[in-house]
Subunit: 338 residues, 2 copies
DNA sequence: CTGTTAGCGCCTTCAA
DNA sequence: TTGAAGGCGCTAACAG
């Protein structure tokens, strides 16, 4: 309807013209800084509303020569990444930063994802579950503060925010031990982020319980498939309990065990990791180890905001405490070893 | 090491200075348009490389007064959305457009998500599983071309790319009918996008098979929980087969049925929808209906690119054909009704 | 083939 | 309180 409604978005000039004031004044009013009369203020707001004006982000950020934006890379396939991203949005609402998302997928390598973020001049990068090499990470960190979530690297240039996976694994195993289990196997995550620590925690807890002889590593992974394929080895090993790398693989494992008439938790107890939707759902109601996405997200944001300008030669490792959540896939062993 | 390595990214001026040419020439070389001597070309490339220069997107897009960017909203929690986003990235690599992601979450309303995209002056919006009202959608469409995926709206301003869910539901039900089932229930999706069509398809197929009397609607939803809670009603209804709104709810349903010693597919056959990771995994190996994410994504992009400037008073509805994928959750009914 | 010039839309001094 | 002017980093049309 409007004469000039041919798609071009309204600019600050349009608003100024309509309100009968200068461009600068419009900017002042809209940024809510002092320096305008109430009358003009009202006129500007009205004009902006009429034109449904919104400042052009590109111009805004370019002019200030800052982007007030943090870039986030994450895996589209990974549910826990999604939860972290949600948590980041929740926390960033408070900080004065915007978030820009850049997904990693089989067809979109992480280097593309980070590069694209840099092209928009993000002032910090949050890499969720990154699989970049230390070298690559440090190159990035030379340009902009970088914080890793869900992965670790030993570098004095890169901040890390993570859950203490060793402690998490120990929580899981200790729980099983306390229930009376001795033949506790670990269906591990291979080379996936965090998998090594969980293996370590498993071993530590087993040793601590004097169960060195019962340490049983079974190959797994992060998907239901991986868990599914671990079922036979678990049965063959005669384990009465399993600590799985994550909930997804635990779910696959449970499915397969039940299919083979090995009841869970009746015959075999299973503990997952992540407290994902799957674990929470009544379909599994899984005992699992929860990571606190909210505090991970918050800490990551804090680190980044505190890095403004600071040369990053004192990288921090923030370690969050995991929490065991007891549900219905664990119980005392049927054939208790006395 | 570099003297001015204090964080500021190199600009085109820096490159020009280092190469000993003008800014314009740098731009020409880097955009790979004709108009530069080979000698200078080489010098510019070298300088750009030395400085690891990358043009500032904000300035680039602002200067051209175009963004060549499409905005995409999607649900972080929804696995099928993730697959569509992946497919979009795959297709957009060919088109000359970038993608900008904007997630929708409980704490981030869809209006925020779209607004943020508009603030970056995206030239088109792809809304995955939108739950905006028709009014809101049309307001958006007044500013920029909009295409909906996974949801329908009757408007001459808004393009829609979707799977024919009615046909999909019929595929599922026909499959069950052909196996010999008569007591086929539908665990529906409530008010979720696509749920209505799937109900319609279910009813049509049942009627077409002369099974009007057996039409059984059971309340469900999109999560495992919803499916879990539908198990008792399914048992109570004495159904031998179920067509579920989606794979997730089907998984919850199957879990619960099995827990109640109702074997699947032995006693009850189940068909899901979406061919998600869950359905593909050996843990469920679910018969389901597949949507073709790749062609949906491609068509959406095509529509948007073809809309440049065109007033959109002739919105198109692109309908993709679904496909039945037969796996191991369906079989002939045990207690065949003769 | 090269360099100059004028925007893009906004923010931020600095005077008036 | 207001307006004019300059700059952010880049592109594009125009002369040299």
């Amino acid at each position: 309807m409007d004469q000039a409604s041919d798609k071009r978005a309204a600019t600050i000039n349009d608003v100024a013209a309509r309100a009968g004031v200068s461009r600068a004044l419009v900017s002042i009013v809209l940024r809510r800084v002092p320096g305008a009369s109430d009358a003009n203020r009202a006129k500007v707001f009205q004009a902006a509303k009429d034109l449904s004006y919104r400042p052009d982000q590109r111009a805004r950020l370019l002019g200030r020569n800052r982007s007030t934006t943090f870039g986030v890379t994450f895996g589209l396939r990974d549910e826990t990444h999604g939860e972290l991203v949600e948590a980041l949005y929740r926390s960033s609402a408070l900080a004065d930063y915007e978030l820009m998302l850049s997904p990693v997928a089989p067809t979109r390598h992480e280097t593309n994802a980070t590069q694209s973020l840099l092209d928009y001049r993000c002032e910090g990068l949050i890499l969720i579950g990154s699989s970049l090499s230390k070298r690559e990470l440090e190159t990035l960190a030379d340009r902009v503060p970088v914080v890793l979530i869900t992965r670790t690297v030993r570098s004095n240039k890169i901040d890390v925010v993570r859950t203490d996976d060793i402690a998490g694994a120990r929580l899981a195993v200790d729980h099983l031990v306390q229930l009376g289990h001795r033949n506790i196997a670990h269906v591990h995550g291979g080379r996936v982020a965090g998998a090594a620590d969980r293996r370590t925690g498993y071993r530590q807890a087993m040793r601590h319980a004097g169960l060195d002889a019962h340490i049983t590593m079974i190959e797994g992974g992060r998907t239901e498939d991986d868990g599914w394929h671990a079922a036979q080895p678990v049965i063959a090993a005669g384990s009465t309990a399993v600590f799985a790398y994550n909930d997804q693989s635990a779910a696959g494992l449970i499915e397969h065990l039940r299919k083979e008439a090995v009841t869970v938790p009746g015959r075999v107890s299973v503990v997952g990791y992540d407290n994902s939707r799957l674990a929470r759902s009544p379909a599994f109601s899984m005992t699992t180890v929860a990571q606190d996405s909210d505090s991970l997200a918050q800490r990551a944001l804090e680190l980044l905001t505190s890095r403004r300008g600071t040369p990053h030669t004192d990288a921090k490792q923030v370690v969050a405490r995991p929490q065991l959540i007891t549900r219905n896939t664990t119980t005392t062993p049927k054939t208790s070893v006395r």
